[in-house]
Amino acid sequence: MHGVGRMVMRRGAQLIPVMIIATFVVFALVFLMPGDPAATLAGDFATEERIMEIRALYGFDQPFIVQYGRWLWNALHFDLGQSLFSNEEVSTLILMRLPHTLLLVFYALILGAITGIPLGILAATRQGTRLDKAITSLASLGVAVPNFWLGIILVSAFALDWRIFPATGAVSIFEDPIQAIYYATLPAVALSTNVTAVLTRQVRSALLEVLSAQYIRTLRAKGLRPQAVLWRHGLRNIAATILTVAGLQFNLLFSSAVIVESVYAVPGVGSLISYSALNKDFPVVQGVALVLVVLVIAVNLLVDVFNSILDPRVAAST
């Protein structure tokens, strides 16, 4: 476990520079988008004079590095500032919205895992059969289907025609966990198809590779039952693959959530960041970017920690 501890320490030290670089890049990208928020802030019936006043009032006329520096200084003091447009505290916005997105992402990940892993195993152990072909084709379809489209189809079937699930909205998991999961079901299903598809394909090919390895043949030759070979040796060896793929999918799900959240009117961070980026609401975009960077780094670290427990060679090599 010594290796694991060192890995955590080293990653922790990387966190600060990565956060600074990431927020700098995001800030620069938003800054490079033409126009500034002053015209939006001045309103539908603005005058040119008013736009200039607002520019000075909010400091939009300051150089890029001064604006970023001011943001960073405050952020280092745990002050993420307020939305330019609605004056809401950025930290409040994130705290209100992140749980909705996390619920969707984890729910989709779990749905993806409980469908994708068995399907992958089934396909690998029945390699070349019709079942394998059906599963593989389905997985290709799952990767290809855009989840916003699937989202709309699911709403029209399960919310408008049959009225089994709500068409839109979300309930806070802290207020009513059962309702929260109920509301999150359709969007989570829409999000999960990509996870299912990717996991199925990865599990299948990883398992096929392991099952064709020399030591598996040796085990079989020794007379071990095929079931035992599969469960004790095959799956154990693809666990790292599953974890890594799941970790990557977790990160990708945040970007898919941007669209699915808007189809289902889920007040999560996905809809927050797209709305804020379009309006050039610097403080909100920066705040969300910061939180997402931390989340992604934390999940990657977690995946690596688990991997190194499963396979000590990993810890030794990082």
Partner: protein, 525 residues
């Protein structure tokens, strides 16, 4: 000159004729589909509204976009009210107003009104609010009140406003943001006077919570001055749903009672459902293209007129608004009192005439117009169809897509490009509508010039207080803008909403600024 703008001789709108005696009182006119038949309003229930825009602020003077009015008049009363359908001014917090001379407006205030925090409403509160509109650094209504020289409490319930110059639009300005009354106590108690997220007014509903870009909740004001019956609702929950199709689905799936600010597409879809009422009502918003006529090809009147003749507005309206709008060369809907008989069809679709004018202007082989357009799908579609119609007479659009905020900077401030395709409108007063688009000081006037004759006509509309005379002056100004082809108007938009049969007496109004005080829910529907 007694209260000449509060005048009952207004030309009745098509709809008010239709309604006739069915109108029970002010603000009770409603879209035909939503009309309650012989039903007595019921008290109680929470109205669930879906709307696509998060307000910028719930402070009337720091807010900035028209959709903010979905919730503003639920929370605030303005000094002066208006009829939803005609914009005819009506008493509100000011029970009467009078021009003692053309530059002095005297308001007599309603007694017995209190703010939601129990602060009494009086002349001092009005002075506080108008001064705040002029002085607060975050105020977006300073330009509305720019001619105001002094505001004084001339009695406990009387306020006198002195202007630098006559301005017949002032009462209408006081029916909008600048006239919405905020509790002085609340402003004084707030940090930096910022009540963006903690609004306190005198309106029919009091503020409960605002989860940003998610939900706004308001609750019945039990001591509403127009009560005790009103408002009928216990409260309103506004869900903010940015995606229009999603917002419409909340009503079809029964999760909301009413969805506001939709587009033609959702109205057409909703009309296929039996138990959903979809309405598209007259609106003050219009689609046009702003011209920079200070330089380039659009400095030539003949080119501007050629563009206007080249458009087939009926087709545009049919395709882009699915027939729910109104093709027009004016900036007002034809039933609006300031819209004269001659402007609407000033430029019939006449490609021959357009080509002739281009040739006369020295462009026999056509002309290229540097065009800016918003980048969203609907705007690009609009731009392509307009471009296609213009191309048929040899006018080629060289289109650059820009975000709305950037368009303001690039076109209106930096003066780049010849024209910008954009919707606009929604002004409470017709003089303001012209002033904000065509005056040299207007942001939308990219060339910052006025053609000879414009200023005199505009000023006549601002200094004429007799209703009929003012109406004539406005007709003249409207015609001047059309004759000189100062822009490329296309069609009027519509106020588009869908609702369930439960919602009674809701009217979006031509300004899309509903008050909700007489809306009620029919639990038996």
């Amino acid at each position: 000159m007694h209260r000449v703008l509060y005048d009952n001789t207004l030309r009745p709108s098509r709809r008010s004729v239709l309604m006739g005696a069915a109108a029970v009182g002010a603000g009770m006119m409603m879209p035909a589909g939503a009309r309650a038949q012989d039903a007595t309003p019921q008290r109680g229930g929470t109205l669930r509204v879906s709307m696509p825009y998060n307000p910028a602020s719930l402070d009337p003077i720091t807010g900035r976009n028209l959709p903010d009015f979905n919730s503003l008049y639920a929370l605030y009363d303005a000094l002066i009210g208006f009829d939803d359908e005609t914009l005819e001014l009506q008493p509100m917090l000011a029970k009467s107003w009078e021009w003692s001379d053309p530059s002095t407006l005297v308001l007599e205030l309603q007694e017995g009104v209190t703010f939601h925090d129990d602060t009494p409403f009086d002349a001092d509160a009005v002075v506080f609010n108008l001064r705040r509109g002029l002085d607060y650094e975050r105020s977006n209504v300073r330009s509305d009140l720019s001619g105001v020289n002094a505001v004084e409490a001339t009695g406990p319930m009387q306020v006198t406003i002195s202007l630098d110059a006559p301005n017949a639009a002032l009462p209408a300005i006081l029916s909008n943001r600048a006239g919405c009354m905020v509790s002085p106590t609340a402003v004084q108690a707030a940090e930096g006077g910022n009540i963006d997220r903690a609004p306190v007014g005198t309106g029919p509903f009091r503020f409960i919570e605002w989860r940003d870009n998610d939900l706004i909740r308001v609750e019945r004001n039990d001591s509403y001055w127009q009560g005790p019956e009103l408002p009928y609702l216990d409260g309103i929950e506004y869900r903010i749903i940015n995606e229009l199709n999603t917002a419409a689905r909340t009503v079809t799936s029964g999760q909301a009672d009413l969805a506001l600010q939709l587009a033609a597409q959702q109205i057409m879809v909703a009309r296929r459902s039996d138990n959903i009422i979809a309405t598209a009502t007259t609106s003050m918003t219009y689609y046009t293209a702003f011209f920079n006529y200070a330089r380039g090809p659009l400095a030539d009147l003949k080119v501007r007129q050629a563009m206007n003749y080249a458009l087939n507005r009926a087709d545009l309206q049919q395709v882009l608004m699915m027939g729910l709008g109104e093709a027009t060369c004016s900036i007002f809907p034809s039933e609006f009192w300031a819209s004269g008989p001659d402007a609407k069809d000033y430029y019939p679709h006449d490609p021959e005439r357009a080509r002739e004018l281009l040739t006369e202007a020295g462009y026999p082989d056509g002309v290229e117009i540097a065009t800016l357009s918003w980048p969203d799908q609907a705007a690009m579609q609009r731009t392509e169809i307009i471009g296609n119609q213009l191309a048929q007479v040899g006018i080629r659009l060289n289109v650059t897509p820009v975000q709305p905020a950037q368009a303001i900077q690039v076109f209106m401030i930096d003066g780049q490009g010849d024209m910008l395709i954009s919707p606009t409108g929604g002004n409470p007063d017709p003089s303001l509508a012209f002033d904000r688009q065509f005056s040299a000081t207007a942001l939308r006037n990219a060339g910052k010039i006025e053609l000879p004759g414009y200023r005199e006509l505009l000023e006549a509309t601002m200094t004429t207080y007799d209703f009929d005379e003012r109406q004539q002056k406005l007709f003249e100004l409207e015609l001047f803008v059309a004759e000189n082809a100062l822009h490329l108007p296309q069609y009027m938009s519509a106020g588009m909403a869908i609702q369930t049969g439960k919602v009674k007496d809701f009217t979006f109004g031509i300004l899309a600024a509903p008050r909700f005080h007489t809306v009620w829910l029919d639990e038996n529907a």
